[in-house]
C-alpha cells in the first residue's frame, strides 16, 4: 500500500559533498520530526521534497504520484506546502495579502475573469478573503490582518508564514525550524497549534527542529539524519536513547554508558 508521502533512496551531491545518501522516508499521518546536527542534510531534504533542488537519485511520491521533477508551484498544487528556516514572508505586503498569495494554487480564475470582473472573480475573491481571515483567526493573527508583515513581531511572523502555507490547503505541511528564535512559551503554544491543525484539518506535518523539548513533546515519530544518512527512526523515547544518535550529537565518548542525553 502506498502511504501519503514516501521517499526512497534520495541522494544529493553538491560537487564533492554528499549532502544526502540514499535516504528513505515515509509519512502517513500525524506529526513527524527530522532532527540532526548542523549540516546533516535536513533542509536539503526539504528542498528536494518541495522541488527547490533536483535530486540526483531516488524517488519521492505524494499520494502515489511522483514528485521529483515537478516545479515547486506544481508540488504546492498537489498538496505539499512549506515554511522556511529564515522567514521568507512577502515583507511589504499585509498579513492578509500574504495569506491570499498562499491561496494562489487553489484559485480557479484567470486573466479574463480579473479583467472583466466576472461574477466568478468576485465570488473567488470573496471566498479567498473569508478563508484568509479564517486562517489568520486560527493562528491568532486576525486582529493584525492589515498590518505589514515586516512590522509584525518575530513570533507573529512565524505564525503568519504558517497561515500562508495553510492557504494552499496542503495535506502535508513541511515546517523548517518553526520555533527557531522563539521563547519556550511561544514554542509550546505553537506546538499546541500544530496539534490542533492535525486534529481539525487532518494534516500531516513534518518538522525540522532543533528544540529537543519541542521535538520530543510533539512528535509521533522522530527521524535522525547525520552526514546525509538516516541513522535512527522511531518514537521519541527510542530515539533519545539510541547510542548512534547520542554519538552523532555529542561525540563518541559521550555515547559510552553513562554518557549524556541527546540534544541540548
Amino acid at each position: 500500500m502506498t502511504g501519503l508521502f514516501e521517499a526512497a533512496g534520495v541522494s544529493k551531491r553538491f560537487g564533492g559533498l554528499t549532502a544526502l545518501h540514499g535516504v528513505d522516508y515515509r509519512l502517513d499521518a500525524g506529526i513527524a520530526s527530522i532532527i540532526g546536527p548542523n549540516g546533516a542534510g535536513k533542509t536539503t531534504l526539504f528542498n528536494i521534497f518541495t522541488g527547490v533542488y533536483p535530486a540526483d537519485e531516488g524517488r519521492v511520491t505524494f499520494r502515489g504520484q511522483p514528485v521529483l521533477g515537478l516545479r515547486p508551484d506544481q508540488i504546492t498544487a498537489l498538496g505539499v506546502c512549506r515554511t522556511f528556516q529564515n522567514i521568507r514572508l512577502f515583507a511589504n505586503m499585509t498579513a492578509i495579502e500574504n495569506v491570499l498569495v498562499g491561496m494562489h494554487a487553489r484559485l480557479r480564475v484567470g486573466l479574463w475573469d480579473a479583467l472583466a470582473r466576472t461574477s466568478r472573480f468576485h465570488a473567488s475573491e470573496q471566498g479567498s478573503w473569508r478563508g484568509g481571515l479564517d486562517l489568520l483567526e486560527r493562528v491568532g493573527l486576525r486582529p493584525k490582518a492589515n498590518e505589514i508583515a515586516r512590522n509584525l513581531p518575530y513570533g507573529d511572523q512565524r505564525r503568519l508564514e504558517l497561515a500562508r502555507a495553510l492557504g494552499s490547503q496542503p495535506a502535508l505541511l513541511l515546517l523548517d525550524e518553526p520555533t527557531a528564535g522563539m521563547t519556550q512559551a511561544e514554542a509550546t503554544s505553537l506546538m499546541a497549534l500544530l496539534r490542533r491543525l492535525v486534529a481539525d484539518l487532518g494534516l500531516a506535518i513534518l518538522l525540522i527542529e532543533h528544540n529537543m523539548r519541542v521535538v520530543m513533546e510533539v512528535s509521533d515519530r522522530v527521524t535522525v539524519l547525520d552526514h546525509g544518512e538516516k541513522i535512527a527512526e522511531g518514537v521519541p523515547r527510542e530515539v533519545q536513547t539510541n547510542p548512534r544518535v547520542i554519538e552523532a550529537y555529542l561525540g563518541r565518548r559521550a555515547a559510552a554508558p553513562g554518557g549524556g542525553r541527546a540534544g541540548a
Binding site: 527547490v52 515547486p72 504546492t76 498569495v101 498562499g102 494552499s168
Partner: protein, 396 residues
C-alpha cells in the same frame, strides 16, 4: 466643502487663464496643475470624476482650438502615460527591470506603418496601403504582436533577475532597433534608416480635426489602460506579481507559477506599448528607427521612477511631468532667452545679447532629467505619488 469649492474655482480660473493668454505656457501649466490638485483634493468621487471629465473631454479640446500645439502636447502626454503604465506593470508590479521597453512600442509602430503605407507593396506584393478603417483593427493586431514579442523576450530571460535581466532587456531593445535599421535587405521590411512614410491615418468623425481625433483616441486608450492596470493590480494576478517581486522563491513555493506570471507581466506591459505604437505611427505619418532609441526606454523608465514605481497615478503624473518639461518648459525657456537676447536687454550692466549661444535650455534636456532624478532619489525616493506599498519600503 472648501476643497470642493476650491477645486471648481481652480479649474474655472485656470481655464480662463488659458483663454485670456492662449500663448502663455504658464497658463497652460496652471491648468495642468489644477488637474493634479483636483485629483488629490478631498472631494467626493463623483465630483472629482465630473471635474476631470469636464477638463479632459470639454476644456482640453477647446483649449486645443485656441492653441493647437497644446492639444499636440496633451496627445503626446497621453501616449507616454500609456507607455509608463505598461512599463509600470513590468517594473513596478512584477519587479522585472526592463531597459528595452521601447522595443514593443517600435513593434506596434512598424506593424501599422508597413501595412498602412505604400511600403506594404514592397513587402507583400500589391494592395497597400490598407483602407484607413483597418487602422482600428490594427490597434488589436499591434497589441497582439507586441504581446507576442513580450513573450518572446520573456522566454529566454525567465531565469534572470535584477542586473542581468536589465542588461538582457537593454540588449533586446537595441536588437529591435538595429533590426529596424537593417531590415531593408534582403527583404525590405522596414526600409532601413530612411523610415516609412506616408503612413495612413484613421478616419475621424466629420466634425473633428485629425488632432482632435487623435486626442480622443489616445484619451480613450489611456482610460482603458488605467482600468486594466487597476483591475490587474487589485486581483490575484497583481498579488502574485507583487509576491514575486518580494521573494521569488517563496512565491513559487506558495504556488505562484513563475514562468506564467512573468510572461503575463511581459505580455501585458508590451501590449500597451504595442497599441500606442500603432497610434504613434499613424499620428506621425513617418517613423524611422531613430524614434526608438535606448534613451526613449530610459525616458519611460524615468517617468515611472519619478512618479513612483508600482503606482498608477504616479505613472500618469510622472509621464506628464517629463513630457511637459520636455515639450514645453525647456523649449519655452529657450524661446524666452532668445527673445531677451534679440531685444538687446541689459541686466546689471551686462548686455544679454552677449550670452553664449550654447546657453539654450532645450539642449540640456538630458542634464535636467539627470538632475531631477538624482534630486528625487535623495529627497523622495518613493516618487511623487508612491504606491501604498513602495511607501512602506522606502518611506520609512
Amino acid at each position: 466643502m472648501i476643497h470642493a469649492a476650491a477645486s471648481i474655482a481652480l479649474l474655472i480660473v485656470s481655464g480662463a487663464m488659458v483663454a485670456v493668454f492662449p500663448r502663455s505656457i504658464l497658463a497652460f501649466l496652471v491648468f495642468q496643475g489644477s488637474l493634479v490638485a483636483i485629483y488629490v483634493a478631498r472631494i467626493p468621487a463623483w465630483l472629482r470624476a465630473l471635474l476631470l471629465g469636464t477638463a479632459l473631454l470639454v476644456m482640453m479640446p477647446v483649449i486645443g482650438a485656441w492653441n493647437g500645439y497644446y492639444l499636440e502636447v496633451a496627445t503626446q502626454v497621453g501616449i507616454f502615460v500609456a507607455l509608463a503604465l505598461g512599463l509600470n506593470i513590468v517594473v513596478g508590479l512584477a519587479g522585472l527591470l526592463d531597459l528595452g521597453y521601447v522595443a514593443f512600442f517600435a513593434v506596434g509602430a512598424y506593424t501599422w506603418a508597413i501595412v498602412g503605407s505604400p511600403h506594404g507593396n514592397i513587402v507583400f506584393g500589391g494592395g497597400f496601403p490598407l483602407s484607413p478603417w483597418a487602422f482600428y483593427l490594427f490597434l488589436v493586431v499591434g497589441l497582439l504582436v507586441a504581446a507576442g514579442t513580450g513573450i518572446l523576450l520573456g522566454l529566454p530571460v525567465l531565469r534572470l533577475r535584477g542586473d542581468y535581466l536589465a542588461i538582457v532587456t537593454l540588449g533586446f531593445g537595441e536588437v529591435i532597433r538595429v533590426l529596424a535599421n537593417n531590415l531593408d535587405k534582403p527583404i525590405n521590411l522596414t526600409n532601413g534608416p530612411k523610415g516609412i512614410t506616408p503612413i495612413g491615418r484613421p478616419p475621424v468623425p466629420p466634425f473633428m480635426s485629425y488632432s482632435e481625433g487623435f486626442y480622443f483616441l489616445v484619451l480613450l486608450i489611456v482610460i482603458v489602460v488605467i482600468l486594466v492596470n487597476r483591475r490587474l493590480e487589485d486581483s490575484h494576478i497583481g498579488r502574485a506579481w507583487e509576491a514575486m517581486r518580494e521573494d521569488e522563491l517563496a512565491a513559487q513555493a506558495m504556488g505562484v507559477p513563475l514562468v506564467r506570471s512573468k510572461l503575463l507581466a511581459f505580455a501585458c506591459g508590451a501590449s500597451f506599448a504595442g497599441v500606442m505604437g500603432v497610434v504613434f505611427s499613424a499620428k506621425q505619418l513617418f517613423i524611422n528607427p531613430e524614434s526608438f532609441t535606448f534613451l526613449e526606454s530610459i525616458g519611460v523608465l524615468a517617468m515611472v521612477i519619478l512618479g513612483g514605481m508600482g503606482s498608477i497615478p504616479g505613472a500618469v503624473v510622472g509621464a506628464t511631468v517629463v513630457t511637459v518639461l520636455n515639450l514645453q518648459v525647456l523649449k519655452g525657456f529657450s524661446l524666452w532667452l532668445n527673445e531677451l537676447k534679440n531685444a538687446d536687454v541689459t541686466v546689471l550692466g551686462y548686455n544679454l545679447a552677449n550670452l553664449p549661444t550654447q546657453l539654450e535650455p532645450a539642449k540640456y534636456e538630458r542634464m535636467v532629467f539627470g538632475i531631477i532624478l538624482v534630486v528625487m532619489m535623495i529627497v523622495r525616493p518613493q516618487g511623487l505619488f508612491p504606491a501604498r506599498r513602495r511607501q512602506r519600503e522606502l518611506g520609512q
